[in-house]
Each structure stands twice: as structure tokens, then as C-alpha cells.
């Protein structure tokens, strides 16, 4: 479904990703771990199409298409979804309006009929249950004044409404209490299926007990330096990143 080849990207003047290779097949769940500042969010933002990052080399093929050639909204229409590490507040735009506009933008782009207000309400009530969010959030401006955990759940709510094929979750587990973690993990598992793919960026093995990954990658200084099965995450939990850093340092000498 997704194939990233030798991806180099960065911000003005500074390269952050120094050649990423990653293949995600349909039906798989991948976890990306790695120390702070290693480039996980940069990769996620590049995949979503953030203009602040420029790609200097490499390619990203999504469903046989050149992903980097598409505008961010076009990527969303094609089924790519990013749950932000830091969801953006949008004052004055209430969540219900935002969700319905997004859903209808995607449906319109696919020549499907728009969902009217009544049908949308039925649909959204269903999705709210999945993330155990109160209906009152729908009336509030997007993310404004939401607690950290509420913002993360709101990201999953959006994912539930938009039903992407490729979901990239950037630290959606950070800042969640124990119950919320279970709810989010459960939501992600429910939304995942054999014809979809999910990439979870996380610092904690804890999440991976609930969302069981097929492959775990370790990112370091803008590169994926190690990949393995779920036991790699357990090893990291136990030993930290130092051993990988050392190993990688010796390799690169």
C-alpha cells in the first residue's frame, strides 16, 4: 500500500530525514519508535503534505500513485489520514461543522452524494460512542480548550468519520489516561481491517499491548536503523535506546 524509498526531507537549509525506506502492506500495522527529535513527526508531516518540509530526494508510492505529487487534501481524499501529535486549534469552527465539511469534501471529490445534517447526526453519534466522547464536543470549536487527551480522542473521532485506508497516528497515546488509552486503542483496532494499513508512532510499549504491530521500526537521527517484530518494542522498553545508538554509531563509522 505504501512504499517509501530513500526519502530525504527537511526544513529550509536543514535535512531532517536522511533516507527513509519503509514498506507497509495492506492489512499491516507498523509501529515507529525512536528518541525525541529523531524525525518521526517530520516523516508523518511529510506524508501528509506539510508545505514547511521540502523533499530533496526519494519517492513515496501510495497505492501505485506518487503521493508527494498530491496536495494534502487530495491525499486525504485518496484515504491518507494523519492523527497529529499536536492537533491544531481552530477558533470559531465547531467540531460538528468541521467533521461534516471534511466528510462531504471527501465524498464530493469522489463524486458521492453529500451527507445532510440529519444523516450526519446519526453517523456522528455512532462514531462518538466508539471513542466514548460526549456529544457536547461537537458544538465546541475544533480542539480549542480541549484537554490533551480530548484532542487525541478527537483525532480518532475524525478518523472514524473519514474512514481512511492508511492511518498514521503520531503519538496518539501520549497524554492519555489509562481509560482513554484503552478507548483509543480499541478505536484504532476497530477501524483497522484487512484492506487498510496503520502506522502508529509511539514511545510506549504499553500501547502496543493493545494495538499489536506486525512490524516495529526504530528511528534514529532521521533514519530507520532497525526493524523487527513486536518483541523489538519490548526490548526497547526494557533497555532504552542506548544500545541501538551504540550499535548504530559503530555501524556508521
Amino acid at each position: 500500500m505504501l512504499e517509501i524509498r530513500n526519502l530525504h526531507a527537511g526544513v529550509e537549509g536543514a535535512e531532517i530525514l536522511h533516507g527513509i525506506d519503509l514498506t507497509v502492506n495492506t492489512g499491516e500495522i507498523h509501529a515507529i519508535m525512536g528518541p525525541n527529535g529523531s524525525g518521526k513527526s517530520t516523516l508523518a508531516q511529510v506524508l501528509a503534505g506539510h508545505e514547511a518540509y521540502s523533499v530533496t530526494a526519494g519517492e513515496v508510492i501510495y497505492e501505485g500513485q506518487d503521493l508527494l505529487d498530491m496536495d494534502p487534501d487530495e491525499r486525504a481524499v485518496q484515504g491518507v489520514f494523519l492523527a497529529f501529535q499536536y492537533p491544531v486549534e481552530i477558533p470559531g469552527v465547531n467540531s460538528a461543522y468541521f467533521l461534516r465539511t471534511a466528510l462531504n469534501a471527501i465524498r464530493t471529490a469522489k463524486d458521492r452524494e453529500e451527507v445532510d445534517a440529519i444523516d450526519f447526526l446519526a453517523l456522528i453519534r455512532d462514531k462518538l460512542k466508539l471513542v466514548e466522547m460526549d456529544e457536547k464536543f461537537l458544538k465546541r470549536p475544533v480542539n480549542e480548550g480541549f484537554s490533551g487527551g480530548e484532542k487525541k480522542r478527537h483525532e480518532i473521532l475524525q478518523m472514524a468519520v473519514l474512514e481512511p485506508r492508511l492511518a498514521i497516528l503520531d503519538e496518539t497515546d501520549s497524554g492519555l489516561d489509562i481509560d482513554a488509552l484503552r478507548i483509543v486503542a480499541n478505536g484504532v483496532n476497530t477501524l483497522h481491517s484487512a484492506d487498510k494499513a496503520t502506522i502508529v508512532v509511539t514511545h510506549y510499549q504499553r500501547l502496543l499491548n493493545n494495538i499489536v504491530p506486525d512490524v516495529v521500526h526504530v528511528m534514529l537521527d532521521g533514519r530507520i536503523v532497525q526493524s523487527g517484530d513486536k518483541t523489538l518494542a519490548m526490548e526497547l522498553e526494557e533497555k532504552g535506546y542506548d544500545w541501538i545508538k551504540e550499535e548504530h554509531a559503530t555501524h556508521s563509522v
Partner: protein, 441 residues
């Protein structure tokens, strides 16, 4: 040469004779003393120049054309009026065309409220007693001109304890023609004790030629009265607009004012609220959406003369093209006005590199128990918010429109009269799309 800033083509003796000639065309001469005082003030003041403190940031020369002719009466076709009507508004309507009352366009007037064309009631005791008391002519040249040459407008008197359910919509429409014209709409509104009134003013122009509308509105809200005002300015793209809105608030009275400035080439708004009764409350909000070379100058004054008065002021603007906005907000708290709670905010979004905003709060506080806050922002649309919306499938142009709308909604949503709110909402939508499209082109 005297070195005076006055426009020498206008001489004092000239003006006095104008007044006499002008008066003979009017219904009654009972305002002669007021007119003569006003023209004397104008002769002393002259047209403003950038040397005047109150006109410092904009060059008023665009407004000054010695060749203005008084606007002549005209009939308005239904189709010309229609764009300025609120389709679902059940209310009282008075229409003025080129500064002249158009009685054939007026709706029926319910009981408990006196509504008349000011030009027909110069002799009304309340008119004699109050006209020109709030809108002083001593330092505002355009108000002096209006007072000297005012003709028609609306006079409203709401009796004590009367709640006027039907909003009063007054429209001043100029049918611009090749000769630049000037009109001086003049309104006086008196809401007696415990009364309630909603007033909607529309100033608009048809055609494509230039003209000047020079309006003055005086509002007196007596003790415990509640006056809800909405003003919409939709002059044509060459229209010049000067408006002075003055409100005086009695004890425990409330006045809300929502000002929408969308049209015109040059617009100058003076808005003053005098909180002269204890516990009175004023809300003064404004929204402007500008494009091309439009200039809008908002000059507001919240004068707190008595204790325990809150005032709320929020002006928001969206600027495209090479437009220019000025916001000056003065809050004057008298020594006596303890426990004043005054809030002022001005927020602007610039859509183009050539648009400019000057914003200047001015606080004069002589009381010590005062809560007073002010703030101003000038920024661009939030790129991260646009990106966030895009990642949810919303195209960039639509994302920008959503953000602009949300910014404007903050003011639109405060309009409590639903049919007015929804119509304004559509109007502003179209306007924002237009401004946005121009800047992206």
C-alpha cells in the same frame, strides 16, 4: 493668503445665504438657529486636513469636492431596493432616496411608537429639545455640515414601558449619477424609560459614480431602556461615506451597536457611546471586509461618566488588495466612574502584502477602581490551521474561506435578529469569497 486651512472657495457669507435658500425648500424653519450655528462652526473649522488630529491617518481630501450638488429626489425601482432588504424581516421600514424621504416605500407603523420623517417634524418638541445636543458641531466639520443642511431622516420616539417588537429598518440609498452629489441623512431616536427598540440602518448606493453620504444619528436611551442597533454600509465602489453615530445611555440602560462596513471607497465612522447613567451598558462591535483601495477609518469613543458601567468593544477586519483600515478606540473614564469595566479589542487579518492596518487604543482613566483592558492583533490566516483542514480533505481555498468565516462569525453571531443575521451572513460570505478570489488571482 491667510494661511488658513479652510477651503477658500467657501466663504462665510456665501454659506449664510445658502442656508436661507436651502431652508426655503424645507418644511419649516424652526431649526434655523441650529443650522446657523452649525454653518458658523463649519466656517471656523473648514474641511478637515491631515493636520487635524482626528484625520491624521487618512487623507480626507478624497471627501472634499466643492462641486458636490445636493442630491435630488428620485424614485427607486423595486429591483434597486431589493438587494438591501432583509427578505425574512417582519418589521417597520422607512426608505430614503438621495437623502429624501420616500413615503410610498414606508410600511405601517404600530402603536406606542412615533416614527416620522424628521423633515416633517422639525417642530416636534422632542426634536427641538434634543436634535444636535449629542452630535456637537463645534469640532466635527462633517457633522456641522450635516446639521446645517440636514433635511430628512428618521425621528423615533418610543413611549415609556413600550417594547417595540418589530425592528425598524431605515434605508438610505443613493442613486449615483454623473454629477457628484452629497446628502445628509439625519436621525434622532429617543427610547423612553423601560422601553425597547431595535434599529437597523442601511446605507447603500446604486450605480458606479461617486457621491458623499454624510450621516448623523443621535440616540437617547433613557433609564432602563434597551436599544439594539445594527448598521450596514454598502456604498458603491466609488461611494464616500461619513457617519457619526452618537448614543447616550441613562441609568441601567443598554445599547448594543453592530457595525458592518462592506462597501464604499472611503468610509469614516465616528461612533460614540456616552454612559451617563449608573449601571448602563454599551456594546460596540464592528466588522469590516475590504478590498482594492478601500479605506475605512473607525473612530470610537466609550465615555464612562458614571459608576458601575460595563462596556464591550470588539472590531474585526479582513483586508485584501491594497486596502487600508484605521481603528482608533478611545475609552474615557471620568473620575466619578468607579467600577468601570471596559473591554476593547481590535483584530485584523491581512490577506495581501499591500493591505495595511493602523490600530490605536487610547485610554484616559481618571478613576482608580477600574477594570480596563485592550488589545489588538494584526496577522495572517493561520497556515497550520489551513493545513490541518486540508489533511481532512478540505481544499485549500475552502479551508481559507472557512477560517475567514469563523473570524467574521464572531461578530455576525452577536446579531440577535435572526433574519438580519442570516442575510448578513450570506452577504459576508459572498464578499469574503470575492475578496479572497481577487487576492489569489
Amino acid at each position: 493668503m491667510t494661511g488658513s486651512k479652510k477651503n477658500t472657495r467657501h466663504t462665510a457669507s456665501n454659506h449664510a445665504s445658502w442656508i436661507q435658500k436651502f431652508e426655503s425648500s424645507l418644511n419649516g424653519q424652526s431649526l434655523r438657529a441650529l443650522r446657523q450655528r452649525a454653518i458658523a462652526d463649519f466656517d471656523r473649522l473648514g474641511y478637515p486636513t491631515t493636520a487635524d488630529e482626528a484625520w491624521k491617518s487618512v487623507n480626507p481630501s478624497a471627501l472634499i469636492r466643492p462641486d458636490y450638488a445636493p442630491a435630488a429626489p428620485a424614485t427607486l425601482a423595486d429591483a434597486e431596493l431589493e438587494p438591501f432588504i432583509y427578505p425574512d424581516l417582519q418589521g417597520i421600514r422607512l426608505v430614503f432616496v438621495n437623502g429624501h424621504y420616500a413615503p410610498e416605500r414606508a410600511s405601517d407603523i404600530p402603536e406606542g411608537i412615533t416614527i416620522a420623517n424628521l423633515g416633517d417634524v422639525y417642530d416636534h418638541p422632542l426634536v427641538k429639545a434634543h436634535l444636535g445636543k449629542l452630535a456637537q458641531t463645534t469640532d466635527l466639520a462633517f457633522t456641522a455640515l450635516n446639521t446645517a443642511f440636514m433635511r430628512d431622516g428618521v425621528f423615533i420616539h418610543v413611549q415609556p414601558n413600550i417594547i417595540v417588537e418589530a425592528p425598524v429598518h431605515i434605508l438610505f440609498i443613493t442613486t449615483a449619477s454623473e454629477t457628484p452629489t452629497i446628502s445628509h441623512p439625519r436621525n434622532l431616536i429617543i427610547a423612553d424609560e423601560n422601553s425597547q427598540l431595535s434599529l437597523i440602518e442601511t446605507y447603500a448606493g446604486t450605480g458606479t459614480e461617486t457621491y458623499l453620504t454624510n450621516a448623523v444619528t443621535e440616540i437617547i436611551a433613557r433609564d432602563n431602556a434597551s436599544v439594539n442597533c445594527i448598521r450596514l454600509e454598502l456604498q458603491n465602489t466609488k461611494g464616500l461615506h461619513v457617519a457619526n453615530f452618537q448614543a447616550q445611555l441613562g441609568r441601567s440602560s443598554r445599547m448594543t451597536f453592530h457595525d458592518f462596513t462592506l462597501g464604499g471607497a472611503f468610509v469614516r465612522n465616528d461612533v460614540s457611546a456616552y454612559l451617563r447613567g449608573e449601571g448602563s451598558e454599551a456594546t460596540v462591535n464592528g466588522f469590516y471586509a475590504l478590498e482594492g483601495s478601500q479605506q475605512v477609518d473607525n473612530y470610537t469613543l466609550l465615555e464612562h461618566a458614571e459608576p458601575h458601567c460595563p462596556s464591550h468593544e470588539l472590531y474585526k477586519g479582513i483586508l485584501g488588495g491594497s486596502s487600508r483600515a484605521i481603528f482608533r478606540g478611545k475609552i474615557h473614564v471620568h473620575q466619578k466612574a468607579q467600577h468601570t469595566d471596559a473591554y476593547q479589542q481590535n483584530e485584523n487579518i491581512l490577506l495581501s502584502d499591500n493591505a495595511r492596518v493602523n490600530t490605536k487604543p487610547q485610554l484616559e482613566i481618571y478613576a482608580d477602581e477600574v477594570k480596563c483592558s485592550h488589545g489588538a492583533t494584526i496577522g495572517q490566516l493561520d497556515e497550520n490551521a489551513i493545513f490541518y483542514l486540508q489533511t481532512r480533505g478540505i481544499p485549500k481555498a475552502e479551508a481559507r474561506q472557512i477560517l475567514l468565516r469563523a473570524f467574521a462569525d464572531d461578530i455576525i453571531e452577536r446579531v440577535t435578529i435572526a433574519p438580519v443575521r442570516s442575510h448578513l451572513s450570506d452577504l459576508i460570505d459572498t464578499r469574503l469569497e470575492h475578496i479572497y478570489a481577487k487576492d489569489m488571482a
